[in-house]
Assembly symmetry: C2
Amino acid sequence: MENTSQHSPEDLLKLENQLCFPLYAVSRMLTKAYQPYLQALDLTYPQYLVFLLLWEHEELTVKELGEKLLLDSGTLTPLLKRMEQKQWLSRRRDPRDERSVIIGLLPAGRELQKAACHIPEQLLGHMGMSVTEFEQLRTQLNTLLTRLT
Amino acid sequence: MENTSQHSPEDLLKLENQLCFPLYAVSRMLTKAYQPYLQALDLTYPQYLVFLLLWEHEELTVKELGEKLLLDSGTLTPLLKRMEQKQWLSRRRDPRDERSVIIGLLPAGRELQKAACHIPEQLLGHMGMSVTEFEQLRTQLNTLLTRLT
DNA sequence: CAATATTTAATTGCACACAACTAAACATTG
DNA sequence: CAATGTTTAGTTGTGTGCAATTAAATATTG
């Protein structure tokens, strides 16, 4: 009859009973697990996410990147400028709407995909999860993400 | 016979097939969901996590805080100094081991607990999850956290 | 016990995140 | 079409995160 979960106001305030903490911690630890692979490519984790989108779409506006990554221009503009400096991508105004900035993949950025294509498999190993567990967790998180946005 | 998950190297590089992205995004969106409640208390999210531990333990060394939150002194030291300035906690060297710094809850910090004690319930509502779902996800994340640390 | 190694915080430097604000381009509306 | 409103990036300032280094205190070891 013992219930492992505690629901009194005080117990709800314990770190171990929070959902937010494991989310926060796992997110950071997973980023850290990517580190050795990304560092070899001179990439940061959010830069890698930008590449995941550009490798698929070739060209995206800052607004579209922001919508997909849930990041605003305050984060993206400096990040994209750093990536531009490395010749990975180009930034240019859309001639049909000068408010928009189009981010385009450059050859050096396209080249990186070859070096990055095995990262997901390697990380999967790091996490030690079955494909079923993996997809279950991804589905749950995506559902939660929809509710939070 | 259709398989919704794609396992070719190219598909594994799509953002939508990553586990890391929903983790990263949910973590940030959840932090943002805490924002209005924490802002009312002049707290940031990691500062709130420090309080969750201090409300339970009263006194902890920087090392212990770091072990529990998976943060290092490079993050904690400036964060704790800001909290010290607000008179929420004290920082003093341990007389028995001058290397350690003991973080102690001050009255103003203890007071905050009263104002914060309903935050978890309110967030639970925000997430729109059943208690079962909540605990299932928390368990999965904690397992993953163990593997990653 | 002296030399060396380890532990613990603090510091430095860089890259996010994000709120708040600005400025330019475009859209709407009377 | 002029005035107003909206959209889009960029800017500024603050607060994390974290790797790498430093410095002081303690532990270990020959």
